[in-house]
């Protein structure tokens, strides 16, 4: 911090954010950290880059939205900012970074990529009387190769908001992180959590400048607004896509395995489901989709969001399910055969 002041480093608050060590990573393990209990480790702040002169200049595509988005966030006067978020507001001027001309590219990139990116998934979310259920498989594939059989596609954003991710995993991880930061800032400034609808709108507007580029994020945001008694019971589930879609709904499934998941869900989802029924329905839907879709597979993650926050069910290996079903089917077949003899 002192070195920055001495050298007069022009600092974008985004850049300094990226220089923070891992302790500031989105707290997937400990969501209580997102609500005021976290003390920032002041000694572990890193230096940030100056804008244009450094040959190793690091530009973050995320900064683009600050200059173009209609929503003004991050614009508070640096003098009045509390110390905790001072490094985020070193500069009162926007934009901070000099982007190369034509960034983000308005059409497909001129440089064809030599490698494929991770895509292909089954994620689903639906709401019912007991809250919202979000479920996803865990396979992350790269043009035919399973890059990771144990990836996490449902990322908690804060204690009462969870987002399922589909599309490019790097994009989804980063944008969820940015969303978590913006929601936290909103909460600090306004003293209340932003609603799910607001978070969906924020994410959609943040992704808008990248429309037409190869960024691919298709997320469903599942949250619970208000306290024990919900302020708006229908407003828990939103689908946001990087092509600009933002939809409110009661049931969504995203990804290459979504047709299969939809068929199972459409047959079983009702408002009056119990929690156990809803969870087993979600697992069944993901299982059916992984059975038929090559790009989905491995385990299933299920999250349940209620007024108390989200709870996560232990990851389950779907292979065991298949073995049991096979045993069950064989038994039924044998019974039928014996009837006909």
């Amino acid at each position: 911090m002192a070195l920055q002041d001495l050298c007069g480093f022009k600092d974008s608050f985004l850049n300094s954010r990226w220089n923070f060590p891992a302790s500031h990573r989105m707290a997937q393990e400990d969501t209580s950290m997102l609500f005021g209990k976290r003390t920032r480790d002041i000694s572990s702040r890193g230096l940030s880059w100056s804008n244009s002169e450094s040959p190793l200049h690091l530009y973050i595509p995320a900064a683009e939205y600050l200059s173009e988005s209609p929503i003004q966030f991050g614009q508070i006067n640096p003098n009045t900012a509390p110390y905790h978020i001072t490094p985020l507001h070193q500069d009162s001027t926007l934009p901070f970074l000099s982007f190369p001309p034509g960034f983000p590219p308005s059409s497909s990139p001129s440089v064809p990529l030599p490698f494929p990116m991770s895509h292909g998934t089954t994620t689903l979310a639906f709401m019912f009387q007991g809250g919202v259920i979000a479920a996803a498989d865990t396979r992350s594939s790269c043009n035919g190769l399973v890059a990771c059989p144990a990836s996490q596609k449902i990322l908690p954003v804060h204690s009462h908001l969870v987002g399922t991710t589909s599309g490019t995993s790097a994009d989804c991880a980063l944008w969820k992180r940015i969303l978590a930061r913006e929601l936290r800032l909103y909460q600090l400034r306004h003293g209340r959590r932003l609603s799910t609808a607001g978070a969906a709108k924020l994410l959609a507007h943040m992704l808008h400048p990248f429309k037409g580029t190869e960024l691919c994020v298709a997320a469903t945001l599942c949250g619970w607004d208000g306290g024990e008694v919900e302020t708006c019971p229908l407003d828990r589930l939103y689908y946001v896509c990087s092509d600009g879609t933002r939809l409110q709904g009661a049931l969504f499934s995203v990804g290459s395995g979504s047709p299969y998941a939809y068929s199972v869900l459409d047959g079983g989802v009702r408002w009056g489901l119990t929690v156990e029924e809803a969870i087993s329905l979600a697992r069944e839907a993901v299982y059916r989709a992984t059975h038929r879709d090559a790009y989905s597979g491995n385990c299933v993650d299920v999250y349940h969001i209620t007024s108390h926050g989200w709870t996560r069910r232990d990851r389950e290996e779907l292979r065991e399910e298949r073995l049991w079903r096979k045993v069950g089917q064989n038994l039924v077949l044998n019974l039928h055969l014996s009837c006909f003899l």
């Binding site: 060590p21 690091l58 973050i60 990139p109 440089v111 490698f115 490019t168 790097a170 991880a173």
Partner: protein, 239 residues
């Protein structure tokens, strides 16, 4: 004139024509694939990062002594394979950022911190990516082995073992079976000790060199323990 190449699959995933089909425009591509395989394994109190040392391009071998493991700190080694130009620049950038961190915070970066930083460095070039497959191996703050694997645009996660590079598709299932004990019934899950892990890595690379043309020449193994980093070189097939 379409150049006959060893890559059977074109950019769109379909099989490429293996003979002259008509006039084709070739654009300059800023990327090139230089081959190489990297592997990392994390144990209870050690981590191993290994890579072959062959640098190739198309049908030629540029160098037989170009290892792909780079030491970052006393407890972290990174393996980078893919396009060699981007590997070199990326490691320079990481070194510079490590130095800056050391100067402003008066301590070295931990493995987890380096991984998080690398993720943002890679995503900073989201629309003109570094064509590098990275794997970081080292010790975490508690002294346990940690492996972080990346994709070229910065998506990462912590693993116990990971193979990256040209022979990764061949090596990863073997590691799943031998280290993760996956897809086997009725086996005892023995914890991996250092000698067994090093021997396994050597065997695995020998197999990779047999079947992948871009892997071979020599194997460089870096073993990271709390005592420091030990390097070992083992010859592989040179053909």
């Amino acid at each position: 004139m379409k150049i006959v190449s060893g890559h059977f699959y074109g950019d769109n995933g379909k099989m490429k024509e293996y003979h002259y089909t008509g006039p084709v425009e070739h654009r300059f591509s800023p990327y090139s694939f230089n081959g190489g395989t990297v592997l990392a394994v994390a144990g209870e109190d050690f981590a191993i990062v290994a890579s072959d040392t062959r640098l190739s391009e198309g049908y030629s071998i540029h160098s037989r002594d170009s290892p792909k493991c780079y030491k970052l700190t006393n407890t972290t080694v990174i393996g980078c394979s893919g396009f060699h130009g981007d590997c070199l620049t990326l490691t320079k950038i990481i070194d510079a950022r490590l130095k800056m961190y050391k100067h402003s915070n008066n301590k070295s970066m931990t493995s987890g911190a380096i991984a998080a930083m690398l993720s943002t460095i890679l995503y900073g070039r989201r629309f003109f990516p570094y064509y590098v497959y990275n794997i970081i191996g080292g010790l975490d703050e508690e002294g346990k082995g940690a492996v972080y694997s990346f994709d070229p645009v910065g998506s990462y996660q912590r693993d116990t073992y990971k193979a990256g590079g040209s022979a990764s598709a061949m090596l990863q299932p073997l590691l799943d079976n031998q280290i993760g004990f996956k897809n086997m019934e009725g086996v005892q899950h023995l914890p991996l000790n250092q000698e067994k892990a090093v021997q396994l890595v050597k065997d695995v690379f020998i197999s990779a060199a047999e079947r992948d043309v871009y892997t071979g020449d020599a194997l460089r193994i870096c073993i990271v323990t709390k005592e420091g980093i030990k390097e070992e070189t083992v010859p592989l097939r040179k053909d």
